[in-house]
Every structure is written in structure tokens, then in C-alpha cells.
């Protein structure tokens, strides 16, 4: 049996829980604030969706499950448990299956950690975002720094693997302030950290404020670059080097689920606005759930929660694989691309970018250099196939 392209990356399941207690001003994810959620109905609908996708992709080895959101730590433990149970029934769970749940670092949620663990979750990712109370307030977070540290301690005692997120390059942040905060974070970190530069995304409250000129003190390009470089330096020293643009881990502790995205594997996406990539009879398909939770629930209950289910053309697929693949240390397997579009990675653009020091070829893999990674969007824009 020949190897299908998606097998370069493997197969995982993404579950989207769209609800939050409050919307953060920087967040552009599909999240909604609702008072009442009918947990029973949602659990049933998510499991039904899982079954629908499993029918299309039978017999696959399931390497990971990821509960994202929204705030999936607000899910009922029973819902999480039902989904994990059904997933492991419908697919073949890998021996070392990684099951991650994103959680807010608050005591109410920490109280549910044991329940999630017993349901099968073996990794949590905490949205700590900052270790300073005033910054947390500005980022619209509901937790305090001390509450976050306490939740982190609970998580470490409950789960094998714990990661947390920080947002830096914030308003008014200096290089030195970030150095201190990052050192602090590294001293408490277990084996994985996601360090994101604050990005003002369209459709967020921050964006509107920035448009009105109300978002002052954001670092300029040079300071942001300095902060990024400092981040690489400190995480290297701490033994948690970057394996992706914004993700750092002790070698071996990388997020297996996220690597599926970056390595161009297949993933089933269920829940409102969840995206999936499913290779059916050799053709990769894009799937996308209805964005509105209410609409999604109705649609899922009547057969399919997907708003989009369509084949992706080879140009778009290749562009996406390049964009994702160059984010990680491993880069792109050049043979794989040769099979998809012969000669694509042998273009003038690739040679120029290698000559200019933005890309390198190593062991038949095309990788971004440290310099290249910092300007990856410009690099990828030059590599995208012309339409």
C-alpha cells in the first residue's frame, strides 16, 4: 500500500468549544459568551459529528485529541469523557496518544482538573498570558498572576504534561521587563511554553481601538524583533528552544497535535468554526463548521455541522504546506513537494532566498534560518505558487 501524503503528518482530532465567560480584547478566535449552555445537547451533537467524520476516515491511527476554544475547561467533564471514549472507539488510538485541553488558570477550573484527567486528558495548556496583574487586566483576563501560579501548580500535580501561554510585546513593555518576566516564566515552566507576540487582529476590540488611535505604546518593529531575539536566547539557555515560531519545548515534549498542523497531516475538526483537513481517496478536503454556535448545533443535530466540505486544489494545498512547514525546525521534506508539484522547490525564488540567508537546505529538507523565521511572511509570500 502506498503512503498517502497526509501520513507525513499523521492524524488528529480537534474539538472546538466556543464558549467563554468573557471575550478578551485581543482574541479573534470563534468564541461566544452565553449564560446557559445545554451541556447534554452539545455533548450529543459533538459525538454525532465525531461519528460522521469517523465514518469517512475509518481505521486511522489517532495520534492526538485537542480541546480548544473558546474555553474548553468550561466543558462538562462528562462531555470531554464521552468524546474521548467515542474517539478511541472509532479510530485506533496511538499508544502514546496526546490528549490536550486548553484551560483558564483559575481555581474554579483547577478544581475540575482531576475529572478531566480521569476522562483521559493527559496534557493541559494554560492561558496564563502574563505574570503581571496590571497587564492581565489590560488583556482582559479574569485571573490574577497568583491565581494563575496556583492553578499551574495544581495542573502539574495532576497532569503528566503542562504547558502555558504568555503574550509579550505588549503595550509599554520594555525589553528589560520582558527579560525579567520571561526568566520568571522559564523558572516555573515544566517542559513546554508558547510565547506569542501580541498581534492586533481585525475584528477584535484591540483592533478597533488601534484604528481609533487609542492603542498606544505598542513596540515598533525593531523592539519587537529585539524581544523575539531575546526570547530565543533565553529559551535556548533554559533548554527549551523554539521548535516553531512561537512554541518552545524540552526536546521530546513538543505538542504532537500541533505538529500535525505544521507537518501537513490530516485532522478532523468538529464544533462551531472548527477547521479540518481530510484526505479522501487521495484528495485533500477542507472542512469548516458553521461559526455560530446555535446554527452549528441545529445543523449538527440534523446531519452535519460543516458549512464547508470541499476539495482543495493543489496550488492552495502546496502554499499552505509551505506556510505551515517553514514554521518548524524540521522544515519541509523536499521529496514530498517534488511528488506534488515537480520542481517547485527548485525555483529561482528558493535559490535566491537561500543565497540571501533566509532559507537553508539540510538533509534534503528546506528550512527557515533564524533570520528567515523572523520575516517568514515575506519569505512565504515569495514562495507561494502563482495562480
Amino acid at each position: 500500500m502506498t503512503v498517502e501524503d497526509w501520513q507525513y503528518g499523521g492524524f488528529g482530532l480537534y474539538v472546538h468549544w466556543p464558549f467563554c465567560e468573557a471575550k478578551c480584547p485581543y482574541c479573534d478566535f470563534n468564541s461566544h459568551v452565553t449564560r446557559q449552555v445545554d451541556h447534554g445537547a452539545w455533548a450529543e451533537a459533538l459525538v454525532a459529528e465525531l461519528d460522521r467524520v469517523a465514518d469517512l476516515s475509518p481505521g486511522r491511527v489517532l495520534r492526538s485529541i485537542f480541546f480548544g476554544g473558546g474555553t474548553p475547561s468550561l466543558m462538562a467533564v462528562e462531555t470531554v469523557s464521552a468524546i474521548i471514549e467515542q474517539a478511541c472507539k472509532r479510530w485506533r488510538p496511538a499508544n502514546d496518544i496526546e490528549i490536550t485541553l486548553e484551560a483558564n488558570p483559575r481555581s474554579v477550573e483547577a478544581d475540575k482538573f482531576r475529572g478531566f484527567r480521569d476522562a483521559g486528558v493527559n496534557r493541559v495548556s494554560l492561558g496564563i498570558q502574563s505574570l503581571h496583574d496590571d497587564d492581565l487586566k489590560r488583556l482582559g483576563r479574569l485571573h490574577s498572576a497568583s491565581e494563575a501560579r496556583a492553578a499551574f501548580d495544581v495542573a502539574r500535580s495532576v497532569f503528566d504534561r503542562v504547558s502555558f501561554d504568555l503574550i509579550y510585546a505588549r503595550q509599554g513593555q520594555t525589553l528589560e521587563a520582558w527579560r525579567t518576566e520571561l526568566r520568571d516564566a522559564l523558572s516555573m515552566a515544566a517542559d513546554h511554553l508558547s510565547l506569542y507576540q501580541l498581534t492586533i487582529e481585525p475584528g477584535t476590540a484591540f483592533w478597533e481601538r488601534a484604528e481609533r488611535g487609542g492603542l498606544r505604546g505598542l513596540p515598533d518593529e525593531d523592539l519587537a524583533a529585539d524581544m523575539y531575539e531575546l526570547t530565543q536566547e533565553l529559551t535556548d539557555i533554559a533548554g527549551m528552544p523554539a521548535y516553531e515560531v512561537s512554541n518552545h519545548a524540552v526536546p521530546g515534549a513538543e505538542s504532537r497535535h500541533n505538529l500535525i498542523y505544521w507537518m501537513g497531516g490530516d485532522y478532523a475538526g468538529i464544533g462551531p468554526g472548527a477547521h479540518g483537513r481530510l484526505t479522501l481517496s487521495g484528495q485533500c478536503h477542507v472542512t469548516e463548521g458553521w461559526l455560530s454556535p446555535a446554527r452549528w448545533l441545529t445543523e449538527a443535530q440534523s446531519g452535519s455541522g460543516d458549512r464547508v466540505f470541499q476539495p482543495i486544489n493543489i496550488q492552495d494545498r502546496v502554499g499552505e504546506l509551505i506556510m505551515m512547514g517553514l514554521r518548524i525546525n524540521d522544515g519541509l521534506d523536499m521529496d514530498r513537494f517534488d511528488r506534488m508539484i515537480p520542481g517547485l522547490l527548485n525555483s529561482v525564488a528558493v535559490h535566491d532566498l537561500v543565497d540571501e540567508g533566509f532559507l537553508m537546505v539540510d538533509n534534503n529538507r528546506l528550512k527557515a534560518t533564524a533570520r528567515g523565521r523572523l520575516v517568514l511572511n515575506s519569505v512565504v509570500a515569495r514562495l507561494l505558487p502563482d495562480d
Partner: protein
Amino acid sequence: MSTPLSRIRNFSIVAHIDHGKSTLADRLIQMTGTVQDRDMKEQLLDAMDIERERGITIKANTVRIDYVAKDGEAYVLNLIDTPGHVDFAYEVSRSMRAVEGSLLVVDATQGVEAQTLANVYTAIDADHEIVPVLNKIDLPAAEPDRVREQIEDVIGIEAHDAVEISAKTGLGIPDVLEAIVTRLPAPKSGDPDAALVAMLVDSWYDPYLGVVVLVRIMDGTLKKGDQIKMMQTGAKYGVDRLGVFRPAMQDVKTLGPGEIGFFTASIKQVRDTKVGDTITHEKKGTDTPLPGFKPSVPVVFCGLFPVDTSDFEDLRDAIEKLALNDASFSYEMETSAALGFGFRCGFLGLLHLEVIRDRIEREYNIELITTAPSVIYHVYMKDGEMIELHNPADMPDMSKVDHLEEPRIKATILVPDEYLGDVLKLCQDRRGIQLDLTYAGPRAMVVYDLPLNEVVFDFYDRLKSVTKGYASFDYQMTEYREDALVKMQILVNDEPVDALSIMVHRDRAETRGRAMCEKLKDLIPRHMFKIPIQAAIGGKVIARETLSALRKDVTAKCYGGDASRKKKLLEKQKAGKKKMRQFGKVDIPQEAFISALKMDS
């Protein structure tokens, strides 16, 4: 049957923008019943959208008003609404020659403005009788006594019997009508049986009628069907239609001495008619043309290029169509290494440039890149030849050049005295030589001798900004004068960008060069490599900036759910580059070509 001379009054209205010229004209038309109330629309005479929007008049308009005066006689009043802007000074002077008197309309809350001055002097030059009219008298801020005094001091005409009106409310309009009859003279002489002498006041293209010619009959009689001759061009035509404006066209059989009207004669292009030309009969015509004819000559040049190179043919079409209706606008094809195919166009002044550019963008929907406006330099070569230089890119090798001359202007600026210092600084910075400084009440009148090239670009914008809009400005071309002028080139990543070349005074080259390099550094986005930006004269670099390489351009978060959207953003980024102009490896945004030249200080 023509109207007797004694019952004709021909007049124009001289006023600054916003002082109420168009509103007054509307009221005169309305109050005499020339147009029914239901047909009235605001500013009847300014027909073009751009004219209405900017409150300016570009083409001369005219209206014939029947008025029964208090003496019981029926009079024919012909109003010619002249262009008010300095760019159209020659057109104004021709229109003025076609009438015998002017109403000088001054806003009683504002006082006399520089533009009013220039036009009122043109009227005085044309031997006009002038009736001052104080408008907006109903406003609390009106100061009629002060303004009367100012008219007497600044312009030097009698103003004690100025007519006080409010064009908006209609107050005083009957007095204006009486003043036109009693205080303005009838046309001086004219024999209906003499050889035809008619002045071509203006002409324009009408999509239904072809070219419409506005004429003032000086001597003789023009009849429908007459064979006529244009004395400047020698072209001969048969008069198809003859009429007057009320303000809609109304046919008449004849136009006699002192009358103003229009004719059509199967003239194909406005270009075939010259403002100021003398029209006579083909047979038994006059031998003596009216004095004062000047062909209109463009003084400001710039390149117009389509943003989208595939719009070139549409641009050619648009420019040709506009040129048919505007003899003062010249064009020739230009190729720029930077901008591709476009046109080098000549204009009467900056306003004219802006009007044409606006019309191309609006009426023809073509996005344009406008290169730096330039004046015509006279380049005297060592071999004695004189070259007219319209485009700095065409500057010959300096070693073969003996000297250069540039056009100078006499600029008149009226400004409240608290801004005087800023205005003087601006004029000095632009290589001005002060000729006069006087006060008229709380306002200063400054007269400067300035190089036109320092004025064509952003002088007026700067003047408005340093005086918060309170200054008024006007100018006349004076002479060509030698000065130490050099061509400055801009090199981006070591490649010369021809569209950014400018002529500049040697003493100011370094400052200008540094300013342009700094501006470009801000206007050009960072690239993946560092880019030197230099200003050079000949081979010598006089200013240099370095645009550092792009340091950070990476999406922080990119997971499975982001892939489609983020990829679209990168595609947009890629497409955005295509919209910019490429010079070697550098993409320059189109707005850079104009913004780089603006001087802030």
C-alpha cells in the same frame, strides 16, 4: 431687430471664492423672472460638478436678463461670469474686454482678498466702470464701514456709495439692478452696418451641438447663415445657429453691436477656436483684428501615468477628449523607466492641473500617478541654442549647458498680521524677494518676487496651513531670470528613479535632497534587504539615508484553524507588491512620487 446700444448693459462680477458671486448671479436671474422659480437650482451658472464643488468658475458663462428699470425703459443686461482663478488670467482679461462694467462683490464680513485684487485690476485695465457691492450685510459679523474703507485704501476706488446686499436673502438686489442701469455705461459705439468685428470670448464642446462659441459683437451684425472667418486661424465656417443664454439657449435671428450671444457652426474641436480671436465675415470683413490676442500657453507641466499600466489606452482616450474641449491643455506621450507609458501634460497653473486630473479620475475612472509638477526652464547651451525644458528627466548634460533661466512671478498675499511672520518665512524659504509690504487695516499685503517652480508644488497648501486658511494669494508671471539651477536625481538602491528627478536651486539642493531622502525612507516599506536612498547632482551624492532591512514579519499564531485565512493574507501581501512600482528589486508605493516632494518646514 437688435437692441439699441443705450439700453444694453454688459457687465461681469468680480469676487473672491465664497464671497457670493454665484448666489448674486442666481438672484439677479431670479428676481427679473428670467428663470421661473421652479426651474431654479443653486448656482445656475457653474455647470461642471468640479466648478460647483470647488466654488470656482472655469469656463465663462453668460446670461441675458431683461429688466424694466425705474425709468420705465426695458433694458437688456448681459452678465458674463468669468473664471475667477489666476490660472485663467488671460481668459479673465478677454471676458473683461467683452463688457463695460463690473460689480465688485466683497464679503462684508471678510473684506478684500488677493484674488479679488487681481481681477479688479484686470477690470480696471479693461476701462471698466466698477460698482462695489457689499454682500452678507445681514450677518452680525458684517463690517460695511471697515470694508468700504478697505476698498478705497487697497483698491483705490470710490466705495461710499457701495450697494449693501444679502444675496442669500435677496436684500438689496433691486438696488443692484438699478445700479447696473444707472451707474454702468452702455456699450460705447458700434455700427450695425459696419464690417463685422466680434470677439471670441470663450468656447466649449456640447455633446449635442458640437462646439458652442460665445461672442461679443463690437461692430456689424451677425446673422444666422452668415459665412464667417476666424482671423487668427483663418478657418471659415457657416453659422448654423445663433442665440442668447437666458441662461437656457434661445435662438435669435441677429446679434448686433453691444450684444453678447452664441453661435454654432459645425466646428469640430474647441481647439479650432482661440479665446480672444476676432471673428468677421468671410466677405467684406474687417482687416483689423481686435488688439490683445495671445495664444494660451501652458506654464506648469507634469507627467500623468495610469496606476494600472493596462489603463494606458483609456487614459489616452480620456486626455484626447478633454483636450478637445480645452485648448490651453497640452499633452504628449511620455515613457518613464519607472512608470511606464503616460503623458507629459501642460497646464495654465496648478488649479488647472488639479481640475484636469480630477476629471480624468472621476469622469473616466482612471487612477493616476502624478509626477512632480515642473515649470518650463530655458536652458541656454554653450553653442548658443536655447532649449525649453519641460521635464527634468530631459535635462541635457551640464557640461554643455551655459546657464539656465527660470520663470519668476509677482505674488500678492493678503494675510491677518498675526500670521505675517510665518508668511514672510515661507516666502523667504522659497527664494522669494520682498517687493512690498503694506497694511490695510488689520491685514498685511505682502508682494513677493518668487520663482514659479517654488510655488507650483505645495506653496498654496503651505500658505493655507501656516495661516490657518486666512491668507489669500494671487500671482502673475513676470519674466525669465538666470539662477543657479541644477537637476537633482534620486537613487533608490543605486538605481536612478527618473520620476523623482527635480530641478532645484544649488543652494537649496542639499536641504531638499535630505528632505526627500528622509521622506522616501518613511514612504518606502522595509524590504528584506537594506536600501540606500540617495540624492545626487551629476555624479555627486549630496544626501543619503538607509532604509534598514525588514526585521520582523511573521505571524505569531498559526494553527490548523488559521491556515486558510493566514494564507489568504500572504496572498494579499504578494498581490500588494504587484500594485507598487518596481525599481530593480525595490517596490515603491505610488503615493511616494508626490509625497516625497512635499516640504513640511
